[in-house]
Point group: C2
Chain length 347, copies 2
DNA sequence: TTGAAAGCGCTAACAA
DNA sequence: TTGTTAGCGCTTTCAA
């Protein structure tokens, strides 16, 4: 029979060392080896030394799978990145990717491993699979999209799950997210303070987080005694082309605008390039603010004014919330503060 | 005793369903359930239906850990991203992140899960830990850095491992990488063809991949009957600041140059911004080429001429090589073709 | 201080 | 076609 790569059985490769081997070589029982390796004080100091030495020199490590089974424990967390069905959008937005790094750090800090998977956003049920099969103690989902209901179903099934996203009414699952309303407010207020009057908004307001940023945008306008103009709000996807599409759409609408608030830095960047292609200079003709404060924003030309999302804190908060939940404790959703970073694209 | 989050034992949360439960409810033995769920034909069609129906309605899934233990199989691959000790550089370069996405896709395609970890580049031994503990069948390492020797040691220990990076002499481990020499050659030749005479090189030639790109650069100069000028080669890290540092260093050296070849797109981008700050226009005063062809390169201003690394192919190749190796078969290292993408930054 | 034995949740001989 | 039994690699009672 052909051996599949998944099969570790006997082949040319020598058999994996196991506890029984160490026991035999040390002339003790596996119980003793187990205890020695676990640092139990029920074992003679001298034997303990000998066993540990043997294990180290033979590079023996305990089989975590077997250990987990016996101990009914598990130190792995699932991280799921949904992808858009149509675009099959690859793990592409730098912000999500930064979040991944931040989660990796936070999990490592807590001594947990990370099982990463990509799941069709339309089939979010699949996100629970690593949990259902006992591989992970719970799941962190990066990106809520518009699948509120599916997420509620998972929560109703008691799948420990924490979602990066916006807090929504009638939400059964736990979210951790930036304060999108105030983010939108800060950016828009800033643009208004710089004397801009007609501020376009780029983003898909069907997505909860974007909707909240838009709400902040409207609030800021209201503060200034202005009303939002539907002509100025352009729904675009989070894909990089979104920025270009949005600017072109505004042109098509024959819309007049002197500022632009994009719901991600990536969108802001591609928007700026399209503006440039239209012969409009940033910030002279159009002031631009983005969202996220990805690393490249500083290095872009012009450097991007943006709303910073607290990414390191986010990773830690997501992990903390998940671990709480896995312990069976109830956790409340949480909003992290956002901060306006002013750079040259708006001043 | 306080319950740790890793502990799934009895608490408020109801006990996890297991095969014995399904068996009892279906009035059959666990063997039968096992067979039914595995789709064995050793079980009566009608019982099979009943069992499957029951499992589905109760949302029962087989515990993979137990199954793996029993079957001595495993369908998880470790992906390790080394981080630089000093900078503790977070998963930051878009290229590596893209690679992660590509690996996730390739693994999913093959029905494998991905265990992601970050390890200190100085402690690459740690990369083997998920393998040593039996969690994964092998490890894919993104980024070779300068740790050739440690990698050789892992290979000598028969840890199935595949590294994204350059092929080196006396290499015991398997690498998959872009053809860096020809990448460097293509970019440099292109700049020369555009009439540039003094081409600066940005990158840390202590890193094998960068060294090869530099070799390609030298080869192209040689083709044109020119010799490399040490003044024009600036060692900079892969961190975003690297580009700025490099351009400033060239200024400090009082170096004259009319083109710049950066060993990553990120470096090229930050270099361009620094050039701009110095009042030098791209490509008029300095033509710039990058490396990687990250997504943003198209949207940068000016759009970046660059050497495209075949990232989707890379993911598939890395995974294929690892699976081969995990089966105990020997695999040869492999170079994937690179391609010059000409955009406005150089013409 | 140690070892024998049972069992974590599952699968596969083997027997019926 | 099904159930009984043993055992994957480990930990932990229990008895010595």
């Amino acid at each position: 029979m052909a051996k599949s790569p998944a099969d570790n059985g006997a082949s040319a490769q020598q058999r994996r060392l196991q506890m029984a081997d160490i026991a035999r070589l040390a002339g003790v029982s596996t119980s003793t080896v187990s205890r020695a390796l676990a640092g139990s004080k029920l074992v003679n100091e001298e034997t303990r030394q000998r066993v540990m030495e043997l294990a180290r020199s033979l590079k023996y490590s305990i089989n975590i799978g077997a250990q987990n089974l016996r101990l009914k424990q598990n130190r792995t967390v699932g991280v799921v990145v949904p992808f858009d069905t149509n675009t099959r959008q690859h793990l592409t937005d730098p912000f999500f990717l930064g979040m991944l790094g931040s989660l990796a750090d936070a999990l490592t800090e807590q001594g947990f491993d990370m099982l990463l998977s990509r799941v069709d956003a339309e089939e979010l049920d699949a996100a629970a699979q690593p949990f259902d099969t006992g591989r992970v103690i719970g799941v962190i989902l990066i990106g809520q999209w518009r699948h509120h209901d599916q997420l509620n179903q998972l929560a109703a099934r008691h799948v420990p799950i924490v979602v990066w996203g916006a807090q929504l009414p009638q939400q059964l699952y736990c979210t951790v997210g930036g304060d999108n309303v105030s983010g939108g407010l800060l950016a828009t207020r800033h643009l208004l303070e710089r004397g801009r009057k007609r501020i376009a908004f780029l983003g898909d307001v069907n997505l909860p987080e974007v909707a909240q940023r838009y709400r902040g945008y409207c609030n800021a306008l209201e503060e200034a005694g202005m009303a939002p103009d539907a002509q100025l709000c352009v729904p675009v996807s989070f894909l990089p082309e979104g920025g270009a599409d949005g600017v072109r759409e505004l042109a098509r609408r024959g819309c007049d605008y002197d500022a632009l608030f994009a719901s991600s830095d990536l969108l802001a960047m591609t928007a700026i390039n399209t503006l440039r292609a239209q012969g409009r200079e940033v910030p002279r003709d159009v002031a631009v603010a983005g969202y996220d404060d990805i690393e490249l924003s500083t290095y872009f030309h012009p450097p991007l004014t943006t709303v910073r999302q607290p990414i390191a804190a986010a990773g830690r908060a997501l992990v903390a919330a998940l671990l709480e939940q896995a312990e069976g404790r109830a956790v409340v959703s949480q909003q992290l503060p956002t901060e306006l970073i002013v750079r040259a694209s708006s001043v």
